[in-house]
Symmetry: D3
Subunit: 237 residues, 6 copies
Amino acid sequence: MRPSGRAPDEMRAITVETGFTKHAEGSVLIGFGDTKVLVTASIEERVPPFMRGKGEGWVTAEYSMLPRATHTRGSREAAKGKQSGRTQEIQRLIGRSLRSVTDMKKLGERQITLDCDVIQADGGTRTASISGAWIALRLAVQGLLASGAIKEDPLTRKVAAISCGIVNGTPVLDLDYIEDSSADADANFVLIEGGHIAEVQATAEGATYDEEALLRLLRLSRMGCEQIFAAQDKAVR
Amino acid sequence: MRPSGRAPDEMRAITVETGFTKHAEGSVLIGFGDTKVLVTASIEERVPPFMRGKGEGWVTAEYSMLPRATHTRGSREAAKGKQSGRTQEIQRLIGRSLRSVTDMKKLGERQITLDCDVIQADGGTRTASISGAWIALRLAVQGLLASGAIKEDPLTRKVAAISCGIVNGTPVLDLDYIEDSSADADANFVLIEGGHIAEVQATAEGATYDEEALLRLLRLSRMGCEQIFAAQDKAVR
Amino acid sequence: MRPSGRAPDEMRAITVETGFTKHAEGSVLIGFGDTKVLVTASIEERVPPFMRGKGEGWVTAEYSMLPRATHTRGSREAAKGKQSGRTQEIQRLIGRSLRSVTDMKKLGERQITLDCDVIQADGGTRTASISGAWIALRLAVQGLLASGAIKEDPLTRKVAAISCGIVNGTPVLDLDYIEDSSADADANFVLIEGGHIAEVQATAEGATYDEEALLRLLRLSRMGCEQIFAAQDKAVR
Amino acid sequence: MRPSGRAPDEMRAITVETGFTKHAEGSVLIGFGDTKVLVTASIEERVPPFMRGKGEGWVTAEYSMLPRATHTRGSREAAKGKQSGRTQEIQRLIGRSLRSVTDMKKLGERQITLDCDVIQADGGTRTASISGAWIALRLAVQGLLASGAIKEDPLTRKVAAISCGIVNGTPVLDLDYIEDSSADADANFVLIEGGHIAEVQATAEGATYDEEALLRLLRLSRMGCEQIFAAQDKAVR
Amino acid sequence: MRPSGRAPDEMRAITVETGFTKHAEGSVLIGFGDTKVLVTASIEERVPPFMRGKGEGWVTAEYSMLPRATHTRGSREAAKGKQSGRTQEIQRLIGRSLRSVTDMKKLGERQITLDCDVIQADGGTRTASISGAWIALRLAVQGLLASGAIKEDPLTRKVAAISCGIVNGTPVLDLDYIEDSSADADANFVLIEGGHIAEVQATAEGATYDEEALLRLLRLSRMGCEQIFAAQDKAVR
Amino acid sequence: MRPSGRAPDEMRAITVETGFTKHAEGSVLIGFGDTKVLVTASIEERVPPFMRGKGEGWVTAEYSMLPRATHTRGSREAAKGKQSGRTQEIQRLIGRSLRSVTDMKKLGERQITLDCDVIQADGGTRTASISGAWIALRLAVQGLLASGAIKEDPLTRKVAAISCGIVNGTPVLDLDYIEDSSADADANFVLIEGGHIAEVQATAEGATYDEEALLRLLRLSRMGCEQIFAAQDKAVR
């Protein structure tokens, strides 16, 4: 039995509130149970130095946790003067995931930054960020299409992410914080609508795992992402 | 006529949602019109080095703006590796304001940190932070009293803050972003329930001002703070 | 009775030594009793990025305390690798104060930096910095006028600053370190010759204060600034 | 055909030179073709703060590339004043991988740091680091056992890592730099002797991939790691 | 002919004003012509971690140039967030020089920090700092002896420093800024009263030099230091 | 008797392995006994801002010690976020030394960076770096000449460096770590082939020294550098 009473393949409730803030070109407060992430998409009409002059765009991400998003207060990275290795690892993953579904030529020479700020954390903040970032990016792209700034849709597929893990010997879907803390293995899958994979990160924490377990987790993640794709679809219609 | 159509002495709508996040000992999302600040109060059973061993507590604050809280995206302070002078000035003001109404002996040797994170900005974020921080602090203190951790209430008065300014020659209350950008003078008042003053910061931006204008702004701020005190009262009852 | 034996409305001796260093376009060692600040004005024929191409100038300030300006040695900010919040707050205030009396169009596209380095501290270092900075700026501007680099005087009014406070229940003028440490309220006024106000920063330290006290402090500051204006006048003639 | 002329499942030559430096408790220069990494294991008789007093040890890693390990010179991280996100991500992976085969209770309250410095880079530096780190760690542990500092061997299994990828549609083993730059997908596998998995990181670069491709890459990595286990075995005998 | 009209072996005027600031245990404004350095000695009753518990003292130095000590304004190191290599090199030299004449056992477990702040620069700031630092240190030690905090004088010899160089083929003593900028070789000598040498740093700038030139510069430095020893002697009597 | 059994004027074995890494334009692993430094020369077709547009080149150096090059592990500067004063002092010395034998006009508007990474340390790492850097620079320059990128050889003289010191009262050549730790005086000489001096840095550590000792150390250094010049010659032929 999972601490939350959920079945092994049962997701937490997904909540989506688009337009949560008004200035960003795309904005969403996405929730997976008690995990709440605010994602905004900001369009800037310039690209980073290494991309200049190619007529192509760029999509990047930043990630942060509010100091008291967690059970005990963590110190603020801006006050410490640097981002942790964990933060950098996560924001690199988010950026990579969203770039895997964006056609940079169609986007044109502009950058979209996805700011993922965790308002409340209960496990799965990086995967929630990716799933929410797609919605914010989609909304921003719709604005570009509507205004005629771009002609062709650079974003033709959906991307979503979910964590799975082996907890007390059982493969389970969508870990909350209690499960995440005690999991033997913990995997994050970034999946593309239609069946393809953008990224697998599967880590042994307490005990190493075998190929069968990896495949079982991949299968669970497919089930979870189907539900996220549906929620994304509803949010941007 | 103000851009918003408000009368010179008219506040924006005050919205207060307590318990916005679940981990913090006190939490509130406070809004003044389109300005929205999430304030959490975190209790830690230790004090900073300079306060140790005195049997007294400490109240401090941190402030940050989400990168896309504003019209155009600002860079993330954690990524830049340091807090701006503006951020530091604001968090020092918030901490000082809340300490002015806290009896540190009654609080006992523990620290309460008020994290003020601006979700959406439309002028007056520092004063909204102070007014909201009192609510979060009050909620955290009620928890300490309820659990018996402290015996006497260390927080016997309310503190609130509001900005006023001279815009196009007219003294007005509760500036929004458009007014703030074009104000000749801009003043932040931190007031104590009952009439006393904790802090005045009145700055000439476009044109210097005279004593009469200062007094007129002080009077407007008293009107505004009465409404905030009422909202605070309602929120923590 | 004040620790120094001064009457409540009595200033410390003001000393002014212009040309204290030889390289700067303007230079002054200003003293208020034992508080001594070296201010230099440096002209550079370029403006910060946000001001470029407007044909207007910029005035900015930096502030620092020598490590042993104070009773006990403080650590050197360059060695710690960052400026404290207090330092940044003060240098922002100095810059703002001097900009309030400078016509940027008449200054032309150049920047004047006012470096305020506290050689010895005994209270009131930020207000001494502002009062001295006006002298250094005035001297630098006279050089620009004399050389024909600018045609019209961009600096037509004086600005001065002084601290006042409520110590043991009595409003007093020009606090020294002992008074500053024990004041119930501490206010810095930046005043323009002729009666206008550029900035008020009035902070409750031990006890909050009322409107009458604020006005009494403002009145004391007017008395003090009259003496500073006279000293400034004499220094630059 | 691969640029190097290798078959799809063909590794580069593995070279191992133990004792490359003399001060470290364990030291090895490991090479996979032109990729050369110097790994040292340093034992310190203390653990990080979060591990103190538990009677358990800790294994951690640091990673760096010499500025001219690469085709064009990269800037030195010490000179820039911070480690890149990539560096932090890699050193976290190395540490995690080695901890997955270390019994911290048997190691006792001491820390072993694995410094992985890339002398020359031609793809696969992180996996070479992990495979070499096991050797350096093994040598350091043998010293502890020989001196009687520990009684039981904390390191009973081998861990190795290798990269695989899909290049021009073909799954290939042990990517060199040219292949790495043009791969559609790039996966790093950290495997435990005997068949278990410690970590999978599989990332779509140019094109997303499907489950079959993931399994094919896993199979290739098993073939590669068998050769590494043999080389490790020979090195520490 | 030297730009200043001085003879090759002619020093600039040495000026010494002790007690320039009042809080420090030792304080001096030392001048070599237009080079002016304020040195303060601060006693703290603790030593750095690596010296603790040995019953011995420590002497260290910090060095800084005010931004406008020079012909054109340099940026403030505190604002840039780090000390330059030049600054660190100089402060290490100053500390080493003063430690060479201090008996750390007699000083007892306390630290004396010598802050050398260049008020105005015209060449030779590091050597002026060393020569002035001896005076400030001497004054601080006299205070310790007078108060009975230490019994035996830890400072039995004088140390002084001067720069020499080869300018237009001629060896000259006590370079000013113009000479320093065009010197073929530039040497700093730290000498002990009585003839011994604490440090030689002789650098070819434009052209390398031979042994004879090195000895000629050493001889010039001896002449200069004799005058500095006399000035030091007079200052502390 | 020296700890190593060497005669006072006896060098350690010099080992030189050119082409140690393959990407750099020049590369050498140089050893003086157990001290091993990897030096690479990297050519970039741009110069630092202060050299732009002059048609002249620049030579600079960076220095670092691998964390476990030493007896006990030192912390990694990249992880600490700054280079120590010692590191900066050394890399400034290396750059200066190599610039003293380079004709910048003949080099043309390009920069050569000499990265000196200490693989194993046993005293004399900075002098080994200089001696090795000349070899790497020479190799890089030969490449430029061979490719026709430059017409005239900008490097017509050799530069080498060696440390000497007074250990137990005896002047000795080429200090190893044990001698270096206990030397009364420690001197680094940078000499030019043919007899000239580029730099002398002679520091009293335990006891000050006299002129005769300085000359004796200089003479020893000449003997040592003759051997280094021969080794350099052999390496680049």
